[in-house]
Homo-oligomer: 343 residues x 2
Amino acid sequence: MSRRPTLKDIARETGVHVSTVSRALDPQKRSSLTEEIVVKIRQAADRLGYRPNRIAFSLRKQKSMTVGVMIPDITNMIFPPIVRGIESVMEPLGYASIIVNTDGDSDRERRLTETLQERGVDGIIHTAVLRSDPNIVEAARQGLPVVTLNRKVEEAEIPYVINDEEAGIRMIFDHLHDHGHRRIAHLAGPRDLSTGLLRREAFCSVARDYGLSADALVIEEASRFEEEEGRRCAKEILSRSPETTAILCANDRLALGAMDYCARNGHPCPDKISITGFNDMPFLDLIPPGLTTVRIEQFDAGATAARLLVQMIDGCDGKVPRETVLPVSLKCRNSVLRIETDH
Amino acid sequence: MSRRPTLKDIARETGVHVSTVSRALDPQKRSSLTEEIVVKIRQAADRLGYRPNRIAFSLRKQKSMTVGVMIPDITNMIFPPIVRGIESVMEPLGYASIIVNTDGDSDRERRLTETLQERGVDGIIHTAVLRSDPNIVEAARQGLPVVTLNRKVEEAEIPYVINDEEAGIRMIFDHLHDHGHRRIAHLAGPRDLSTGLLRREAFCSVARDYGLSADALVIEEASRFEEEEGRRCAKEILSRSPETTAILCANDRLALGAMDYCARNGHPCPDKISITGFNDMPFLDLIPPGLTTVRIEQFDAGATAARLLVQMIDGCDGKVPRETVLPVSLKCRNSVLRIETDH
DNA sequence: CTGAAAGCGCTAACAC
DNA sequence: GTGTTAGCGCTTTCAG
């Protein structure tokens, strides 16, 4: 229970000044010291079980070696891999991460942003879903390094890393089209989340490329990315447009909900209707019939964002690209059936 | 980009001494100041956008208002709810959590424990799976508040929170027995993880209570809590003891693997064989035929551990119970079939 | 009731 | 090469 030893203790022990001890223990400056004294100091440090006090370090250097990671909700299975990706680059560099869950609550988000700043984080990775949040913009404007993940902030020059939502939607639309589907409805995500909006826009754009007129498009928007909303919207789509042969969903959870509704109401997937997702969350291969979806590299996304943030922290702002778009890929399972085309 | 304001800035602004500002901003000591000056100071603080510097606070008070949370792997779906449970009590009290993933690597765990101590965490919640790890014991012995989750440490008087593994196994064994099963094999977890061992012991104990002799027991031990091992062990069990009618698995992932193997090899669950799990992880209800399992309240476990840790940090060590056992419950789905008993 | 001064543990400019 | 000194931003005696 005895107090942790400090530089002062080592200094007393070895009969040198604290600053000498400090230098001896710093690999950078060790060189400017006598070999002999360095050895003596290091031995004493080992003997006493010295561990540097990072709080004192932080106060002095104005650098906490800590970053904040804001995510909506860690229990949402797509976030843990992102967190590990971030950690995979941060931890070896000596950074710790403080992870906070915003629950999509912008008031909570504001408070948490303040807390992180009080704690002197060196930067923030903001895995946001909200399309606009002034708090983080303000923090960035004050000079705090920030990079956003999964979303771009229009108001400021904040570097962002996103997945190629457009390409993903195109892949999956192509896939459906290749399988003969012409009546493709979109189960869209909430408009106020960037992924929801982007995917919806991509859907419209691809549909247009295929020559489908905008007003012929069946789109039903979920208010949250949850199974229950998937069910509700699937019901809506089926009743509004019974001739629909495929539902392209904005994410996996919506797709799962839609699949459940369809199965319970005489439209089993894939026999009666084809359904696709987005994200490729874990365990999808265990859920029949196997959702065809767009695979996102969550771990890489986290690691990439972390690397950018470190660059910014190190002051290499100039070299940090404003936009980083990560590739996505198609993951085919069994939720899409090949059907006869009309001609 | 201008530097964050400090107490000194407010002092200059208001023409009082920093210590007065410090007092004015501390709700505890505000009372000993003139109402007038307090108001003036608070206004100045607001105007300047003052935010206390927690690093300086920490250094002075020798209290970081930070706790370490060690978990094996956040991508394992049972941990996020625990983390949120911890956060639900820590955050309102002003504590931040640094979450680290040990990956079950005891070397890594040692390094991380040191890192957390360097950062001056006020305590550690150790959601461990390893049955013995000297590092955390050593940290606790040095006076650092520690509580373990999901496991008890024999070597030291460290408070722990565990689930009632014994009761869980008993419930599920009873359930199988009630459904006519007499040939029940155990797909055990790794012996070096406390959950693995505890559940195995409980299984043996219950079997004994039912009058099954120990040497008649079919037990196959997985080397990791993973689907692949579930498959391997299921194969082993089926070939060693073809008359088995039920496999009681040490956790859900093993059960899922076992189910997969059985399905692919002419023993579909539940028709040919009944299978049960443990944990009730998310999305289980979407995976056919629906795994019957033991439900653990992960969020509560995290919250409980956090409350204990806070008590310890606050110096109420005396009042902290050494052992806290959380109740579990049976979650019935469709993986257990009723069969005819022999008599 | 408020000011002065010390100090938490560390680093860094400046001496010698 | 090493010691001296100052100070990061805050709290907390101790005076007055």
